[in-house]
C-alpha cells in the first residue's frame, strides 16, 4: 500500500509537476479542445443540414463522413492527419504540429456534433417550419431564425458531453510528436513521469483534466434539468385564463 502512495500519490512530485501542467499543458489542451470544437460546430452544422436533405446525393457524403470519423479510433485519425498528411506531401500548416492536432480533433468532433445537431433539429416540431415558411421565410431563413435556435437549446447537454470528450481525446495528440512548449497535459505528465520514474505526474495531470471536465459535467446536469423541467413561468397578475398546455391532441 505504501508502494501505491510512493509511486502514484507522491505529494512532492505532484506539487512540482503542477506549474508545468498549468503553464504549458493546460494552455495547449485548451487550445486543442476549443479549436476542435469551433471547427466541429461550424462543419457539424453544415453536415447536419446535409443529413436532413431530401436529396440522397446531398445526404450521402454526410453519412459517409460521419461513419468514418465516428468509426475510427481518435488516435488513428490523429496519426493519419499529423503524420500521414505531411508524408503525402500535404502540409497546410507547415510544421505547426498543434494545428494538425486541432484539425484531426476537429474532423472527429465534426462527425459527432453533426449527429447531435441533426437530432436536435429533427426534434423540433414540424409545425415550426410550416409556420415560418407561411410568413414567407426561405428554408435557410427559417432554419437560422426558428429551427436551429430551438434545436440547439435542446442538445446543449449532449454538446457539452462532446466538449468533455474532445478535451480527453486531446491527450492523444502526442503521437504526432510535440516539442517543448507544445505539450498538452498528458504529455507533460508522461514526460515528467519518465524523468522521475514515478507515476505521480500522471495523477497530477489527471487532476487538471478533472478541473476542466467536472465543471462541464455539472453544467450538463444543470442544463439537462432545466430542459426537462422548463423555466419557471411568471403568471401574469389577474390573468383571466391559466397558461395553456400546448400539447393538446385534437
Amino acid at each position: 500500500m505504501g508502494e501505491l502512495q510512493r509511486l502514484f500519490f507522491d505529494p512532492q512530485i505532484i506539487w512540482e509537476t503542477l506549474p508545468t501542467l498549468f503553464r504549458e499543458g493546460l494552455k495547449n489542451t485548451l487550445l486543442l479542445a476549443i479549436g476542435a470544437l469551433v471547427i466541429g460546430f461550424a462543419f457539424g452544422m453544415v453536415l447536419a443540414l446535409m443529413g436532413i436533405s431530401r436529396r440522397w446525393w446531398v445526404r450521402l457524403p454526410a453519412v459517409v463522413y460521419i461513419d468514418i470519423f465516428r468509426g475510427l479510433p481518435a488516435i488513428l485519425t490523429i496519426a493519419l492527419v499529423g503524420l500521414g498528411m505531411p508524408t503525402a506531401g500535404f502540409r497546410p500548416f507547415g510544421r505547426e504540429r498543434l494545428f494538425y492536432g486541432i484539425l484531426a480533433l476537429g474532423l472527429i468532433s465534426t462527425a459527432y456534433i453533426a449527429e447531435i445537431l441533426r437530432a436536435g433539429i429533427q426534434s423540433v416540431d414540424k409545425g415550426q417550419m410550416e409556420a415560418a415558411r407561411s410568413v414567407g421565410m426561405t428554408y435557410m431563413m427559417a432554419m437560422r431564425l426558428i429551427i436551429i435556435p430551438q434545436g440547439l437549446r435542446r442538445v446543449l447537454p449532449p454538446l457539452t458531453n462532446e466538449a468533455i470528450a474532445i478535451t480527453k481525446d486531446s491527450s492523444l495528440v502526442f503521437v504526432i510528436g510535440l516539442a517543448a512548449g507544445e505539450r498538452e497535459l498528458f504529455r507533460v505528465g508522461q514526460n515528467i513521469g519518465q524523468q522521475t520514474g514515478n507515476f505521480s505526474p500522471y495523477v497530477a495531470a489527471g487532476l487538471v483534466y478533472l478541473l476542466i471536465t467536472i465543471p462541464l459535467t455539472r453544467l450538463v446536469n444543470v442544463l439537462d434539468k432545466r430542459l426537462r423541467e422548463g423555466r419557471r413561468v411568471a403568471t401574469a397578475p389577474g390573468a383571466e385564463e391559466l397558461p395553456a398546455s400546448v400539447e393538446v391532441q385534437p
Binding site: 508502494e3 503524420l83 505531411p86 502526442f174 503521437v175 504526432i176 510528436g177 510535440l178 516539442a179 514526460n191
Partner: protein, 310 residues
C-alpha cells in the same frame, strides 16, 4: 433465452477461451527465488535454457558463488528488442546470445528469469539471481548497490538526416534545427542537455520520428545508432550524418562484492571481443559497424568502465 442470445453467449465464451489460451503460452516453473520480495516485483517466470557443454573451463559452482551448481541464474526484463525478447517462446536477442556464449565458455548452463526492470537491481541484491543482463546502463548510482562487469556494449547515438537535408558534421550544426527524439530514451535526455539551440520534438516511437523526418516535418532524428543504421538500410533518402558517443555503456550486473563471478565474466568477455566472436554476435542483431570500443583486438578497456562511473 432466444437462439440469438445463445449464439452471442457462445461467441463470448469462445473469445474468452481463446484469450486465456494465448495468455498461458509459456511453459514454465516459477523459480524458487523469484518471490515478491518488496511488493513491487511482477510475477516472474523462469525459462529453462539448455546450453550444451562445449569443453569450456567447467568452474565449480562454489568458486563463483552461484545459487545452483553448474547453472548461472540470470535476471532480465525480457521485453526490449533487440537485446532481449521472447521469440517462439524462448528468450532471444543480443544480450541473450552474449550471455549464452559467456556461460558456454565457463561450462555453465543458463537459466533466465524474467523480471521487471524497475526491481531487477534490488532482486539481485536480495540474492534472487547470480547476474543480471538487461541493456543496463552503467551508472554511478547503480554501482553503489551492485557490481558491474566491464562494458559489453556502447549505446552510441546517431543523427539521421534526409539525403537532401541539412549537413550535420558536428553537434553544433544542429543549432536552429528541429530534431526528433524518442520519448523515454537516454537520447532524449542527451538532446535536451546538449542541443540547446535546437527544437527538440518528442515522438512516442522511433517509427513516428522517422516518418516525420522523411515527410519534412523535422530536420533530423537523434536516436540509438543501431536504429539509425537499420533505417538507413531500408530507406533510401535517409542517411547517417553523425555518430555521437554519449558515453553510455552497458554492463552485466553481479552482486556487490562477488569479485569471483565478475572477474570470470570479464575474462570471457575480453576473449569474446578479441577473437571476433563479439563482432559475429553483434552483426546478428545490428546493422552497421561494431561500436569502436568493441572492435576486434581492442578489448574492453578498464578505462571505459571508470569513465562511465565517474
Amino acid at each position: 433465452m432466444t437462439s440469438k442470445t445463445r449464439w452471442i453467449l457462445a461467441l463470448i465464451a469462445a473469445l474468452a477461451l481463446l484469450l486465456t489460451a494465448c495468455g498461458g503460452g509459456d511453459e514454465g516453473d516459477t523459480s524458487d527465488g523469484a518471490t515478491d520480495a518488496d511488493g513491487g516485483a511482477e510475477e516472474t517466470e523462469a525459462t529453462e535454457e539448455e546450453v550444451t557443454e562445449d569443453g569450456g573451463d567447467g568452474a565449480a559452482a562454489g568458486d563463483l558463488g552461484l545459487l545452483n551448481e553448474g547453472v548461472i541464474t540470470v535476471g532480465s526484463d525480457i521485453a526490449f528488442e533487440p537485446f532481449e525478447f521472447i521469440q517462439d517462446g524462448e528468450p532471444a536477442g543480443f544480450d541473450i546470445d552474449l550471455m549464452n556464449e559467456i556461460a558456454d565458455r565457463l561450462g555453465l548452463e543458463v537459466e533466465y528469469v524474467n523480471a521487471s526492470f524497475d526491481t531487477i537491481f534490488t532482486q539481485l541484491a536480495a540474492g534472487d539471481f547470480d547476474a543480471i543482463i538487461s541493456a543496463i546502463t552503467i551508472t554511478e548510482e547503480r554501482d553503489q548497490t551492485i557490481d558491474f562487469t566491464d562494458p559489453y556494449f556502447a549505446a552510441n547515438q546517431a543523427v539521421a538526416v534526409t539525403t537532401d537535408g541539412p549537413d550535420v558534421a558536428s553537434e553544433d550544426d544542429l543549432a536552429g534545427l528541429q530534431v526528433a527524439v524518442q520519448a523515454g530514451t537516454t537520447g532524449l535526455d542527451y538532446a535536451n542537455e546538449n542541443f540547446t539551440e535546437s527544437t527538440i520534438v518528442e515522438f512516442p516511437t522511433s517509427e513516428a520520428a522517422f516518418t516525420a523526418l522523411e515527410s519534412g516535418q523535422v530536420d533530423a532524428v537523434f536516436i540509438d545508432l543501431p536504429v539509425v543504421s537499420a533505417r538507413v538500410e531500408t530507406s533510401e533518402n535517409v542517411e547517417l550524418a553523425l555518430e555521437v558517443d554519449t558515453g553510455e555503456l552497458y554492463g552485466i550486473g553481479v552482486q556487490d562484492g562477488n569479485a569471483a563471478l565478475r572477474d570470470a565474466l570479464n575474462e570471457q568477455l575480453a576473449d569474446i571481443i578479441a577473437d571476433g566472436t563479439y563482432e559475429e554476435i553483434y552483426s546478428r542483431w545490428f546493422e552497421g559497424d561494431v561500436p569502436e570500443q568493441f572492435r576486434t583486438g581492442d578489448g574492453a578497456s578498464a578505462d571505459a568502465t571508470e569513465d562511465a562511473t565517474e
